[in-house]
Structure formats: structure tokens, C-alpha cells
């Protein structure tokens, strides 16, 4: 069955706020609520007219169970609009969009608010196993003597060594590698140097600075915290990013001998992004003026230890279905989880071996034309609030296409656990 296009009516996101070693001013639901209510406010329909709200989130806090529903209610969508939470790690936001598409195509919904959010700065510290067992023992202690005995057994070293939630979240549970270590794998596999990665990263910062000056980031809705402070811009962007500066940073994931540093990786960040998706019927009913449409999507699986190549595996089938080469796509957004990972994707498409062995192609797919990839920078400069990024790149890709009066683009994202996701986005001519 042909892919029935689904319209993008509007979209918005929060500024992406870099985690600074303490919980940031907004929880994941706060981020989604503030950006979502501003987006809904400018629509011709009331929030209660939505058929569904789907929110991607990889790490909601314990008091944000089914965060999608919580956020929908907080935004005033009312009791009767169903809402749920999508989780596909780094592509949770893209999964939310894809689920909205599926429901619209199936005729189960006409008008859906879909997006993603994450407040990684709020990732919890957890008790380690020794402490959990100690608490269990304390619960069972009946007499005062038993209780005192438990306190005698308390080891401060266990108490002061919490499990860092975010490190668990960024570790592959199957192969036990940190995400940065999978990026090291790609650097090794394709011979990507530290200098290439750092160069890519400096470029990402520069592109964001230029894009911001050119007004390419009007998708941002400013936030106001409980103290009345305004947050209007992505705050992880460095105006002074430079090669000598990045060269000073130490490898973080494979200590001492590795190549991947915090400077050439995406930042740990808080943020949310939303899109409003509509069927043709909803467009007609409300007289909507869509800004574009999603015409195809694809998920793919691969070796978790090479998860960064996910975009290669998700994007290639879309190109094949339409009979296109890399240069038939006007603009690309490939999420910058790691510089090594994006460069790895480009290298994989240029590799005869990789394309033959992994993609079943006769030879290399080719070279992604210069100047079409992440033209306003990416997650290395903006940050990667895991659940939000997939939605952000789809939204921003559409803005890029419209700014350049271009026709079609592909947004793609790599996913921890060995997955890739991609969406084909088109403007309406």
C-alpha cells in the first residue's frame, strides 16, 4: 500500500538548555507544556479538538508516569483527548510522529499533537545494589536492637556511591558499551581522526551561530521559569568554539587512548519539540494551512555496537523505494549524536564494502553532496535532549526546505540499542 502523506500543520520547540551538573529549571513535562501550550494557542482549533497527543520521552522522572497524558492534561487538552508516551530511546520523538502518522493513515485520528521531551539534567541518582539490600534489611528489622544492628552494618562507601541514572541510560544493555564507545568503534572502523571530528564539531557551532543570526531558529518558544527568568535561546552553543580549544579536551569514553571527547559529542541537554499532524480531512475541516508533509518513514536495526550507523540503514530503503540517490535529496538532517557517528555514516555510504555487505548494494551509494547536511548545525552545538531530538530534526528540516524553497529532505537519527529512524519530508508546491 502506498504511503499516504500526512500534513505538518505547525511546530515549535523549547530552547535546548545544557545540563550544568544540577537539575535544570524545567522538568521534562514543564518543557513540553510550555512549548506545547504556546503552539496550541496559535491554532484555529481548541486543544480539546485534538484526537490524540503522543509524546516521546526516554527518561521521565518518577512523578511523570505516562508523561504524554500528564502533559496533555496540563496543556488543557481536557479529559477526553487520549494521550500516551512513546519510548524508542534517542528516537522517541520521531517514534511519536511515526505513531501519529500510522494512526492518521489508519483513519483512527485526524489531528494529532506529537513530539518529544527530555530533561536529562533531572536524571536521577539511584541507590546501588548494596544499599538497596541494606534498606530491605532495615524494613525487615522488627526490634530496636535489630534496627540498631542494621545501622551498624551501614557502609558509607555504599551510601556515597550512587548509580548515576544517565550513565545507565547511555549504556547499551546488550553489549555493555557506552554510546561514546560505539562511536569509537565507528572512528576505528572508518579511520576517522580526532581532528576530523573536532573540525566537524567546530563547524556545527559555527553553523548554529550563523543560522541564528539569519533568523533560522524562529521555531523556538521562549520559556519562563518559576522565578520569572526568560530562556530564549539554545544555551549550549559556543560562539568561540575552536580547534585548539577542542584539542585540549580529554577522551571521555575510552579514556586516554580514545578519540571521542565531550567536545565532539552531543551535549546532555533539556528540551522539547512538537509538531501538529493532520489528515487531509482535518486540513479541509479546519481550513488549515500546512507547512509541509511527511511522505515516507523507515525504521532499521543493526549491530548495537555500531548503532551510530542507524541513519544509513534507515535512509537507504527510502532512497531505494523512490529510486533516488543521495543527491536527489535537497536537505539532510542527521542527528549529531557524535561527530564520529555522522562522519561514519557518510563514510559507510562511500564504502563499497559496507554497502555491499550491510546494505546489499552492488557498490557504494555515493557521496552526500557538500552543504546539504545539517545546514544550521546540529546536536553537537544545540544539545541532544534524547526524546526531543527526533522531533526537532523533522521540524527544523522543514524550515530549512522552506527557507531554501526546496522540495524534499530526509531527517534521520541513530538510536542506542542498534536502530535507525528516518523520515522523508516535503514542502507543498
Amino acid at each position: 500500500m502506498a504511503f499516504q502523506p500526512v500534513y505538518i500543520v505547525d511546530g515549535a520547540r523549547t530552547p535546548f538548555l545544557k545540563a550544568r551538573n544540577a537539575p535544570g529549571p524545567f522538568s521534562a513535562s514543564d518543557l513540553a507544556v510550555q512549548s506545547g501550550r504556546a503552539l496550541l494557542m496559535r491554532q484555529v482549533f481548541a486543544p480539546t479538538e485534538l484526537d490524540e497527543v503522543i509524546l516521546g520521552c526516554a527518561s521521565p522522572s518518577p512523578d511523570e508516569v505516562n508523561i504524554g497524558r500528564l502533559v496533555a492534561l496540563r496543556m488543557g487538552c481536557g479529559h477526553k483527548v487520549p494521550a500516551w508516551t512513546a519510548m524508542r530511546n534517542c528516537a522517541s520523538g520521531m517514534q511519536a510522529i511515526d505513531s501519529a502518522i500510522a494512526n492518521i493513515q489508519a483513519g483512527r485520528a485526524q489531528l494529532v499533537l506529537a513530539g518529544g521531551t527530555d530533561a536529562l539534567s533531572h536524571a536521577p541518582l539511584l541507590y546501588n545494589k548494596v544499599m538497596v539490600m541494606w534498606f530491605a534489611g532495615l524494613m525487615q528489622a522488627r526490634s530496636l536492637g535489630q534496627k540498631l544492628g542494621m545501622f551498624a552494618k551501614l557502609r558509607p562507601s555504599a551510601l556515597l556511591a550512587p548509580v548515576i541514572g544517565i550513565m545507565k541510560g547511555l549504556t547499551d544493555p546488550m553489549v555493555g558499551l557506552l554510546m561514546g564507545q560505539t562511536a569509537e568503534n565507528l572512528a576505528w572502523k572508518f579511520g576517522i581522526s580526532r581532528e576530523q571530528m573536532d573540525e566537524f564539531s567546530v563547524h556545527s557551532h559555527q553553523l548554529v551561530v550563523e543560522g541564528r543570526a539569519a533568523g533560522h531558529y524562529d521555531e523556538i518558544v521562549p520559556l519562563v521559569d518559576a522565578k520569572g527568568n526568560v530562556y530564549a535561546e539554545d544555551d549550549g552553543v559556543r560562539l568561540d568554539s575552536s580547534l585548539p580549544g577542542l584539542a585540549k579536551l580529554k577522551p571521555f569514553f575510552d579514556k586516554k587512548y580514545g578519540r571521542v571527547t565531550p567536545g565532539n559529542s552531543s551535549q546532555i541537554t533539556d528540551g522539547a519539540a512538537w509538531l501538529i499532524l493532520a489528515s487531509q480531512a482535518a486540513v479541509d475541516q479546519w481550513g488549515l494551512q500546512p507547512i509541509g508533509r511527511i511522505s515516507d518513514s523507515q525504521w532499521a536495526g543493526l549491530d548495537p555496537a555500531q548503532m551510530g550507523l542507524g541513519p544509513v540503514h534507515a535512509t537507504t530503503p527510502i532512497l531505494q523505494r523512490h529510486g533516488w540517490g543521495l543527491d536527489d535529496i535537497d536537505a539532510w538532517e542527521i542527528n549529531e549524536a557524535f561527530a564520529a557517528q555522522v562522519l561514519g555514516c557518510l563514510a559507510a555510504w562511500e564504502s563499497d564494502d559496507y554497502c555491499r555487505e550491510q546494505l546489499g548494494l552492488p557498490e557504494a551509494l555515493g557521496t552526500l553532496p557538500h552543504g546539504r547536511l545539517n545546514v544550521d548545525g546540529g546536536a553537537i552545538a544545540l544539545g541532544h535532549p534524547v526524546g526531543a531530538s527526533g522531533a526537532r530534526i523533522v521540524l527544523h528540516l522543514l524550515h530549512v526546505l522552506r527557507a531554501n524553497q526546496a522540495r524534499r529532505g530526509i531527517a534521520s537519527i541513530c538510536i542506542g540499542g542498534g536502530l535507525g529512524g528516518a523520515m522523508l519530508v516535503e514542502t507543498l508546491s
Binding site: 507544556v33 496540563r74 519562563v224 518559576a226 520569572g228
Partner: protein
């Protein structure tokens, strides 16, 4: 199950032998204890005496609440000392009888339980509070200039201790369900889903009431005199005995007569038939009348759009969100809106304990720099700076995007609605919704109709004002409407007195002694000397002689509280508490009368001209809009009493 019909009550006795008396006053939406209602309740006690039940549960058949209090209409008919005493005796004896029955009794308090209603509940063995936002308990008699003579002064101190009881009785404040349980007023506080079960279990539990602590027993016993004199000192800070005798009487009746007012018949007469009580009861009915405006409309707002995030606009938006509406607040850019949000959040933080409620209120207040909210709003309020061109341009834009039927309002205090509305496609649509500063404390809102204005829009505006729990006062479009028009000549006269060499402190002291909540000079500092200048010129004509003291300070840039200095130094700046005042001098004879004269004359003039519909509304507006000494019954009532 046996039942016997009464007019205002329903008595049922179930198979377990538990009696249930449901109070459902005929022909009313809320329960009040009229003479007929209490007679019937006496007959219910008679019936139960014949065959005593295992227990009695008293509950309300009204959605509105348990019991709102005594029937205040009856207070207006006490023209002889005997009638006053009879009214007191009626409740005192009936509730003593209820307290003495041998079977256990329980009051199931859901919703308001005030005055006589709480005295009835206190006479029951158990008080079960249903944990809902509407559940409020209190003895507000003092606010009507009277006392809780039906056993409140006896039983409340016994139940919660002398200090807490005096605090409730002397301030009239209400207590919610959780607090009532904590302080011992309620025996149990439960959600409505288990209230029936809880009522039966508690009724039959045969548990003794938690006794007061030793300290509380000492304070209510041997140290009663000490507590009483402390309370008198506290009351003296807020109310003078010549203006408000009731709180002093409450302390005396508790301390000297064991809470039995009948033991002090002269005191009862002095209070019940005082002009203060008469006037405060009148003020109560005027308040009820204001609450009735807008009732004829079924208009209900869900979304409000406010343009202008200054002090007034920001506070109006914050207040609407607090009252449950979704509010979009527009101004030029987030940086201008953020300070209003900051102020709102700080105010919410002080008011709201529950973190989920706090979150919801904050979520409802939405910054809207681009003004998208106007198209979805049911009420749009313009509160930008007082410039006619700017306001006209804005109103025109708003009208173009608004929903049909939505209320378009201006908060202007100095511009003519008739001038503002000329740019509109439908000029009749514009109404004034004029709030006072600070919005969260000032109960009055003037609803202004221009000549040729659509009465339906004025009535929707009044309904909206009720929805956000303010008192709407319909006024005709005229310079200064009612409140500012009466205040301006009064403040000018006060400043002229300063010009004559009387110190600001002395001027203010004279009016505080008259019973005003704030002196006129301090009021000038609060509204701002620039605003006072503009109002003086606007309302007094271009050729008006402005007081020298005002001009000097204005020219020196001392604008009052907002600039840190005006007639007074405002050390902490934000609230009146930071005012630095010197000691007042001796008050010249007749000063208060002199300062009041222009206010009284103007109020009379405005009533005569029909800016408000009648003299009562002028009194109501000036009391609720300025705090004009309520015990006087308002300016025109005061004039009338002086003449009589």
C-alpha cells in the same frame, strides 16, 4: 425506615436505629437558621425524645454547603431590647438542648458552615469535616458587628482552646477541613467518598473528645483575665471600640460570663441595636446585591486574554488564572511579560500549599507575546498605558480577531469609552472593566457602560467579574467613574491641608481615627504622585490649582511608593509596611469632617446624576472600592445619619 415530613427538614430513621436530619431550607439555595427552621428543629428534638435513636446525624440537603448562618434578614427587625434578647435566647436554648441529648450526635459538615451553623455543629458530640475546597468553618458574626451568641462563645473555646477560639471569633476568619481537624475543631476530616461510612462509625464509636492540653486549660481557666487583656490589646490595633464595639463584647462575654450573652443583657442590647451593627448588616446586604449583578446572564468565560503586562494587567491576568480561567497575557516581548509572571508566581506561592494546584495555576497563565490568545478568548481586557491612540489601535486589532459574543473590555481609568470605541466596527461592544490596585485585595470592580453601549455586554462583563469572585458595580461612563471620582477631591483636600502646614502624619491620623483603612496622604503615595497629578487635572479641569506640596514633590521626582519616596519614605518599597512615618501631631478639631466633605458631596452628586443607579450602590462602591469606614454604612448613609 420511618420518616416524618417537615417543611425545612427531613428526618429519617434507618433500620439500625440511626436518625438522620437533613436540613433543606424550603425555597432557598443555601441553608440559614431562621426562626421557622429552628422551631422545626426543636420539634425534631421533641420527636426524638419520645423514642431516642441510637444516634443522630445532622447534614445538609443543599449542594451549596452545610449552613450559611443565621437568617440575617431577621437582624434588621430588632427594634426593642426584648427582641434582641429573644433572638439570642432562641439559639442559646435550642443548642443547649441539642448538646444535652443522651444519644450521640454528629454534624456532617460539607461546604460552608458559618456562624449559627457552626454553633449548631459545636453543640453536637462529633463534628465530621468533609475534605473539599468549599468546606469552611467560622464564626464571622463580628463582621456584622454582632457576636456568636448561640453557644459559639461557650463551646468554641472549650473545643479548640481560648486563643484559637478568640482568634476565630475576633477576626471572623474561616478554617478549612484539614485545619479544622488539626486544631481539634473537627473530630475527623475525610474525603466525600467515605463520609457516610465515617459518619456512622464515628457516631457509634463512643469515643471521648480529645481533651485540651494543660496549657490550654490554664489559659481558659485561671489565666482567663490575662488572655482577655491580651486579646483586647490585639483588637485595639485594628478596631476602635467606639467604631466596632462587638469584638470587645465578645472578649467580655467569654471572660466574664462563660460565653453566655444572656447573662449580660445590657451588653447584648448595646451591641445588637448599635448603629455599627445596623450599618454592617446593611453593608452585608449591599454586598449580596453586588453579587447579584450579572446573574441574569448565563455567560461563562473559559479563556481570558489580557493585553498589557504592567502592574494592573499582570495582576488581573494572575488573578483570573488563580480563579480557574485559562489566561493569555500579551505584551511586547517575553522580557516584558516575565516580570508579571514572576510577581504572579510569588503571589501563588504564598497562597497555594498544594504543589499540584500550584502547578495547574501556573500552567493556566500563559505568556503570549504575539497575542494569539485574543482569537480564542471569551473575555479580552485591554490594560495598556493610558494613551488614546494606542488604545484605539489595539482595540481595533482585537475586535478584528475576537470571537463573536466575546467581551471586549478596557481597564482605562481616565479615558472616555465613547472616545475609545469610535474606531470599532461595533462601538456598542466595548465595556469598561475597571479593577483597583492591588487586584487580589480590592473586592470591587467597576463595570462601565458607555452611552449607547450594548447592555448584554455589560451584563456579560458583570457575570465575568462574579466568576472571578469580585464584586461588580455597574457604573455609567463618566470621568473617574465612581471610586476615583470621589477619591480625587478627598486626596486633593488632604494635600491642601498639608499645604497649610498640617503634617502628612497628622492628616493621615485624622482619617485613621475616622476609621479609614489608610490615610489619604499615604494613599497618594500608593497610587503615585504622577497618577494623582493626572487625576487632579483630568477630574478637576485643566485650570485646577494643584496643591503645592504635590507639585514640589512631583517636580523633584518623588512619585511615591514606586520611586521609594513621596510624602513618606518607603524603606522596603513594596508594601505599605515599609512606610516611614513620624509621630502625628495633635489633630485639629474638625479636620476629618473637612477632608471628608468633598468626598461626601461628590458621592451625592454622582448618585444624583445617575453614574450609579442609586445611593445604596454609591455607598457599596465607595466602601468596597476604597475601604471607606464600613461601620458608617458608606458615605451617603453617613451623611443621612448626620442629618437625622
Amino acid at each position: 425506615m420511618s420518616t416524618r415530613a417537615y417543611q425545612h427538614w427531613q428526618l429519617e430513621i434507618d433500620a439500625e436505629g440511626i436518625a438522620s436530619a437533613t436540613f433543606d431550607k424550603a425555597g432557598e439555595t443555601a441553608n440559614s437558621l431562621s426562626s421557622a427552621v429552628m422551631d422545626e428543629f426543636g420539634r425534631i428534638l421533641d420527636q426524638l425524645e419520645e423514642s431516642p435513636p441510637r444516634g443522630l446525624i445532622i447534614r445538609s440537603g443543599k449542594l451549596a454547603g452545610f449552613i450559611a448562618g443565621a437568617d440575617i434578614q431577621e437582624f434588621t427587625q430588632l427594634d426593642t431590647p426584648e427582641k434582641g434578647l429573644k433572638l439570642v435566647a432562641r439559639g442559646w436554648n435550642l443548642f443547649n438542648r441539642l448538646a444535652a441529648v443522651r444519644y450521640p450526635t454528629l454534624a456532617m459538615v460539607r461546604g460552608h458552615c458559618l456562624g449559627g451553623g457552626l454553633e449548631l455543629a459545636l453543640a453536637c458530640r462529633y463534628l465530621l469535616a468533609v475534605d473539599e475546597p468549599a468546606t469552611k468553618m467560622g464564626l464571622p458574626e463580628v463582621m456584622l458587628g454582632i457576636f456568636p451568641g448561640w453557644g459559639g462563645m461557650l463551646r468554641l473555646p472549650q473545643r479548640v482552646g481560648a486563643q484559637a477560639a478568640l482568634d476565630m471569633m475576633l477576626t471572623g476568619k474561616t478554617i478549612d477541613a484539614k485545619r479544622a481537624k488539626r486544631m481539634g475543631l473537627a473530630d475527623e476530616c475525610v474525603p466525600s467518598r467515605v463520609m457516610e461510612n465515617a459518619a456512622t462509625m464515628l457516631l457509634l464509636s463512643n469515643t471521648a473528645r480529645r481533651s485540651l492540653s494543660l496549657l490550654q486549660r490554664l489559659l481558659g481557666g485561671p489565666f482567663k483575665g490575662l488572655v482577655a487583656s491580651g486579646a483586647r490589646k490585639q483588637v485595639a490595633i485594628r478596631a476602635r471600640p467606639e467604631h466596632y464595639p462587638a469584638p470587645y463584647a465578645i472578649i467580655d462575654i467569654w471572660a466574664k460570663h462563660q460565653g453566655n450573652a444572656l447573662a449580660a443583657p445590657q451588653l447584648v442590647d448595646a451591641i445588637v441595636r448599635s448603629s455599627t451593627a445596623r450599618n454592617l448588616v446593611r453593608v452585608f446586604f449591599m454586598q449580596e446585591r453586588l453579587k447579584g449583578f450579572g446573574k441574569e446572564s448565563d455567560f461563562q468565560a473559559r479563556r481570558v486574554h489580557v493585553v498589557g503586562a504592567g502592574v494592573m494587567g499582570g495582576d488581573i491576568a494572575a488573578w483570573c488564572a488563580l480563579r480557574g480561567l485559562t489566561v493569555t497575557l500579551q505584551d511586547q516581548g517575553m522580557e516584558r511579560i516575565a516580570p508579571a509572571l514572576k510577581r504572579a508566581y510569588a503571589a501563588y506561592g504564598k497562597r497555594i500549599r498544594d504543589p499540584l494546584q500550584l502547578r495547574d495555576v501556573m500552567d493556566r497563565l500563559i505568556p503570549d507575546p504575539e497575542g494569539h490568545g485574543a482569537a480564542q478568548a471569551d473575555v479580552v481586557i485591554e490594560a495598556i498605558f493610558e494613551n488614546i491612540e494606542a488604545k484605539q489601535a489595539l482595540l481595533k486589532k482585537l475586535e478584528a480577531v475576537m470571537k463573536p459574543g466575546a467581551v471586549l473590555a478596557t481597564n482605562t481609568s481616565s479615558l472616555k469609552l465613547e472616545d475609545l470605541s469610535t474606531v470599532l466596527a461595533n462601538p456598542a461592544r466595548l465595556v469598561g472593566i475597571h479593577f483597583f490596585n492591588p487586584v487580589s485585595k480590592m473586592p470591587l470592580v467597576e463595570v462601565v457602560s458607555a452611552s449607547g453601549g450594548d447592555p448584554e455586554m455589560a451584563s456579560r462583563a458583570a457575570a465575568f467579574v462574579r466568576q472571578i469572585d469580585r464584586l461588580p458595580l455597574p457604573v455609567r461612563s463618566a470621568p473617574g467613574f465612581l471610586v476615583n471620582a470621589v477619591l480625587a477631591p478627598y486626596m486633593l483636600e488632604a494635600m491642601r491641608a498639608v499645604d497649610e502646614g498640617i503634617t502628612p502624619e497628622t492628616v493621615d491620623a485624622a482619617m485613621l481615627a475616622f476609621g479609614m483603612p489608610m490615610g489619604p496622604i499615604e494613599l497618594v503615595d500608593m497610587v503615585g504622585l504622577d497618577v494623582a497629578m493626572a487625576a487632579g487635572k483630568g477630574l478637576g479641569g485643566a485650570n485646577i490649582d494643584l496643591p503645592q506640596c504635590l507639585l514640589e514633590r512631583f517636580n523633584a521626582g518623588h512619585l511615591g511608593q514606586k520611586s521609594g519616596r513621596g510624602f513618606y519614605d518607603h524603606a522596603s518599597g513594596s508594601s505599605g509596611k515599609g512606610v516611614v512615618k513620624a509621630a502625628a501631631g495633635p489633630i485639629p478639631a474638625g479636620l476629618a469632617e473637612r477632608l471628608l466633605k468633598p468626598l461626601l458631596e461628590r458621592a451625592q452628586q454622582l448618585a444624583d446624576e445617575g453614574v450609579v443607579a442609586d445611593a445604596d450602590l454609591a455607598d457599596a462602591g465607595v466602601i468596597f472600592g476604597t475601604g471607606f469606614s464600613p461601620f458608617t454604612g458608606g458615605p451617603l448613609n453617613y451623611l443621612k445619619q448626620k442629618r437625622d
